[in-house]
């Protein structure tokens, strides 16, 4: 057997008291796709950052093609043939594809010769790997999927033999993800080695040859993909048996709670973000909004939650809501029985420097229960309430005085969800409820959402995770480019049909 393309031996890395990587050893065979799966905070990104020279390991060795190699910085990583495609692309938006590819790898003081060379090289790479991109297109005009191809081309242009992709499908439509996987398969045929970091079990099963599972900084197992199952991987990730399917009874919808008619939003730069959205949700049902990030779902949530203004009509329990006035804000929405779990808990849902109890009052700080008198807030009452909610929602550690930033992602989200569900709303808006949340907490949060539905509340769920939409929703609406492309029942549709709707193909491609 040939020596592995890349081999890590005994890698350890600690950040202060946190042991991010503990004695990790893997060997990745050349010409294979090796998946690394684990929950958020399991140490995947740290490991890859060590491999790419961003961090220095406290202990351990890296071997590339059997040669012991030191990787003190990213230049050394590139020289060793390692290319990295980050989750958030590192492209200059107003440069062309060609300029981005050359950036940082220019040959001399003059740009023209290197651009010419790059153009020839790009043509060769395109043919070799079937990676088609217009070299003269501006990045800002490319779709996300194409931008990702540019990142891959950038790595290949630097003669990478080992490609690391960090959560590459997070921003892609299912169709784009399929295209990416075809590209990866092609790269594997050409002898490249690929390391795929993800938390999605389906992707691991679909494309990888071998998979390593990480949990709490340790490599818990490395198995052949063909010899494992999603259930087994999930168990290895979490350390216990997990229910991958959400269990729920059929919905018993009641009267209409939310009616939205012809909602329009134009942003500051004059771009239409919502182009006449109409929908309604009844009590006791979950309407899921599927779509690729950036197609107006965020704007819809913000308008409903009172964060931004809009034209159109919104009625809650039959009464119209003021959308543009001075008092159209989060406070007035809460007063009307709308609770809002925002998409981004770190910049919106929580004040990261605030302690847990202060965050539990966030948005509800006008609640009479939290006031001592006209002048002062009743911090003791708020603390007691926080302790109760933390216990009920199993927030760990259950310490109301701990700042929000010191909780894990899942526990942060539980604090937000506890706050919004426990105020007993008529309508709950939920944005990306499980983004960056560990599997155990996902299960818990899903159960809470279902339980709220079963209490007869209306729920609007926005998520870019198609699996989440399909398993939680009672009805699914797909958004594309500020419009609703269609509505489906989860039992009558499938990922392919929804994927086409998400890509803007009307009628889901059905004839």
């Amino acid at each position: 057997m040939t020596s592995p393309a890349i081999e890590l031996k005994g890698i350890s890395k600690a950040f202060g008291p946190v042991q991010a990587n503990k004695d990790i050893s893997i060997a990745v065979q050349p010409g294979t796709i090796h998946g690394i799966i684990g929950e958020n905070g399991a140490g995947k990104s740290t490991l890859m950052s060590i491999l790419y020279g961003f961090y220095k390991a406290d202990a351990g060795e890296i071997f590339i093609k059997g040669q012991k190699t030191a990787i003190p910085d990213s230049q050394a990583a590139i020289a060793a043939g390692i290319g990295m495609v980050f989750q958030h692309f590192k492209l200059v938006q107003n440069f062309t594809v060609l300029e981005n590819i050359v950036l940082g790898a220019e040959d001399g003081a003059l740009l023209r010769p290197s651009l010419g060379k790059a153009r020839r090289e790009l043509r060769r790479l395109e043919q070799e790997y079937e990676l088609h991109v217009d070299p003269d297109a501006l990045i800002e005009n490319l779709s996300v999927g194409h931008q990702q191809r540019v990142e891959i081309l950038k790595a290949l242009y630097r003669q990478a033999n080992i490609l690391i992709l960090d959560e590459p499908t997070g921003v892609l439509t299912p169709t784009e993800a399929d295209q990416l996987f075809r590209i990866l398969a092609r790269l594997r045929e050409e002898g490249k080695t690929i390391i795929l970091i993800t938390h999605k079990l389906r992707e691991i099963m679909d494309i990888t040859d071998t998979v390593s599972v990480m949990r709490r900084g340790e490599m818990t197992a490395t198995v052949k993909t063909a010899e494992t199952s999603p259930e087994q991987l999930a168990e290895l990730m979490v350390g216990r048996k997990v229910l991958l399917r959400v269990e729920k009874a059929p919905a018993r919808p009641g009267k209409t709670v939310l009616e939205v008619e012809d909602l329009q939003v134009t942003d500051d730069s004059g771009v239409e973000r919502l182009k006449g959205i109409s929908l309604n949700i009844r009590a006791g049902e979950i309407l899921g909004i599927a779509g690729v990030a950036g197609n107006g779902q965020s704007e819809l949530l913000e308008v409903l939650g009172g964060v931004s203004a809009a034209q159109g009509t919104i009625r809650v329990n039959g009464a119209e809501i003021d959308l543009t006035g001075k008092h159209s804000d989060g406070q007035s929405r809460r007063a009307r029985g709308i609770a809002h779990v925002p998409e981004d808990r770190q910049s919106e849902g929580l004040i990261m420097d605030f302690q847990a109890w202060e965050n539990v009052g966030f948005g509800y700080h006008h609640d009479p229960a939290y006031q001592k008198n006209a002048l002062f807030m009743d911090n003791a009452a708020l603390r007691a309430d926080t302790a109760r909610k933390m216990e009920k929602f199993d927030v760990r550690p259950p310490d109301p005085s701990l700042p929000a930033k010191n909780f894990s992602g899942g526990n942060q989200q539980k604090i937000v969800v506890a706050r919004e569900i426990e105020c007993n709303p008529d309508l709950l808006l939920v944005g990306q409820p499980t983004r960056g949340v560990d599997i155990g907490a996902i299960e818990f949060i899903h159960k809470q959402i279902i339980a709220l539905r079963d209490e007869g509340k209306a729920i609007l769920l926005v998520s870019v995770e198609l699996d989440e939409i399909m398993s939680l929703s009672d009805r699914i609406a797909v958004m594309f480019d500020g419009m609703i492309m269609g509505e489906r029942l989860p039992e009558d549709t499938n990922a392919q049909e929804l994927g086409l709707l998400m890509a803007g193909v009307a009628n889901g491609g059905a004839a």
Binding site: P17, G305, G330, I351, F362
Partner: protein, 364 residues
């Protein structure tokens, strides 16, 4: 988990910064051929060795408490109010007008009127930059700095052309009526049998300043407005989500900040000069920034830092008076303290954090 225990953050870092500043100052004094030990002795006896010295130290500290609190309140709303100087100047104008044109029967009522007038004028001067920030996005740092210059020019005009008594040569108002003169610490402490220097300027404003420290503490950590100010200061997007109006908080925080800076005038204008002179503020508005930085924007920290800077001011004045150390060097020493406690905070903090991490590792 926090990297350092809280006491290290609050006590140890400022202390180390101060010691570093002191060492560097000592080297500078050595460099110009003077004896640093003697200089320190002189500063300490001059500022703290007599009730006269204390009287001056506390007088300066009172000024710095007001301006320090002003900076701290704005800072909690994530705004950097550099305009304390101008706001305090305008506060002085408010005090002068109300003392000169309202016939007050007794100082105890006059001080309430003066507090209101100084706060109102200071707040009004902060309101314009606040509005420009909240509605037009003009950066508050730039506008408040500009407003310092406008305040100086305005005061110059008002003093020279409007308030200067006929025939007077200097740009200042007339003496305030005797009924508005505030009791000094000498008069306040005499009934308790404590003798305090008669000629020191510290006065009852000190008590107002201490009350203001308590008031700001209660405002920031106990009221709903304080909660909203802190939330907005930590995360504007979060505040928007929660329905906290950025406009309202920007305005209110700056009004309170400007009001506090303006209130300094009851000390320097009403309590000490008993008339309004051109350069009444003497840079206290800027010292307030250092005081707030060093006090970690906490009212108690501001209180302590204000006394420290009061000591530096008074001790520095004594040094200039009795030694060959030039007045400018005192400014250098004060600047070093500001530099170390404010700007070079991370220089001390990061090694200290590493040390605590290493300590924890050996324990664990």
């Amino acid at each position: 988990m926090d990297i350092m225990p809280k006491w290290a953050d609050v006590v140890l870092i400022p202390l180390i910064s101060l010691i570093l500043a002191a060492i560097l100052s000592a080297l500078v004094i050595l460099g110009i051929g003077e004896d640093p030990v003697a200089a320190v002795k002189l500063m300490v006896t001059g500022a703290l060795g007599s009730t006269y010295g204390w009287g001056y130290t506390l007088y300066y500290a009172t000024n710095f408490m007001f301006t320090g609190l002003a900076v701290a309140v704005a800072f909690h709303a994530s705004m950097f109010n550099i305009g304390g100087e101008g706001q305090a100047m305008l506060g002085g104008l408010g005090v002068a007008l109300i003392c000169l044109f309202v016939p007050w029967p007794h100082w105890s009522i006059a001080i309430l009127g003066a507090i209101a007038a100084s706060a109102l004028f200071g707040a009004a001067w902060a309101a314009i930059p606040a509005y420009l920030q909240a509605r037009r996005g003009s950066h508050i740092v730039i506008t408040t700095i500009m407003f310092n210059f406008i305040a100086a020019a305005l005061l110059n005009y008002v003093l020279v052309n409007l308030l200067r008594p006929k025939g007077a040569m200097d740009p200042a108002t007339a003496k305030f009526p005797a009924a508005t003169n505030l009791p000094t610490l000498h008069e306040l402490l005499a009934p308790f049998g404590i003798s305090f220097s008669k000629s020191a300027p510290a006065n009852i404003s000190l008590i107002v300043a201490v009350l203001a420290c308590f008031g700001v503490w209660a405002l920031i950590w106990r009221t709903r407005l304080g909660y909203e100010i802190r939330a907005f200061g930590k995360s504007e997007s979060g505040a928007r989500y929660a329905g906290i109006s950025p406009f309202k908080i920007t305005m209110l925080a700056m009004l309170i900040s400007g009001g506090l800076a303006g209130m300094m005038a009851i000390n320097n204008v009403m309590g000490e000069a008993e008339r309004l002179v051109l350069n009444a503020v003497e840079g206290a508005g800027f010292i307030g920034i250092a005081v707030s930085l060093m006090g970690r924007n906490h009212p108690f920290g501001v209180f302590l830092a204000a006394i420290l800077f009061g000591f530096l001011y008074q001790g520095g004045a004594e040094l200039a008076l009795w030694t060959n150390i030039p007045r400018e060097l005192i400014v250098v020493i004060q600047a070093l303290v500001i530099l170390f406690t404010g700007a070079l905070d991370n220089m001390v903090r990061i090694p200290l954090e590493r040390m605590f991490l290493a300590l924890r590792k050996t324990e664990g």
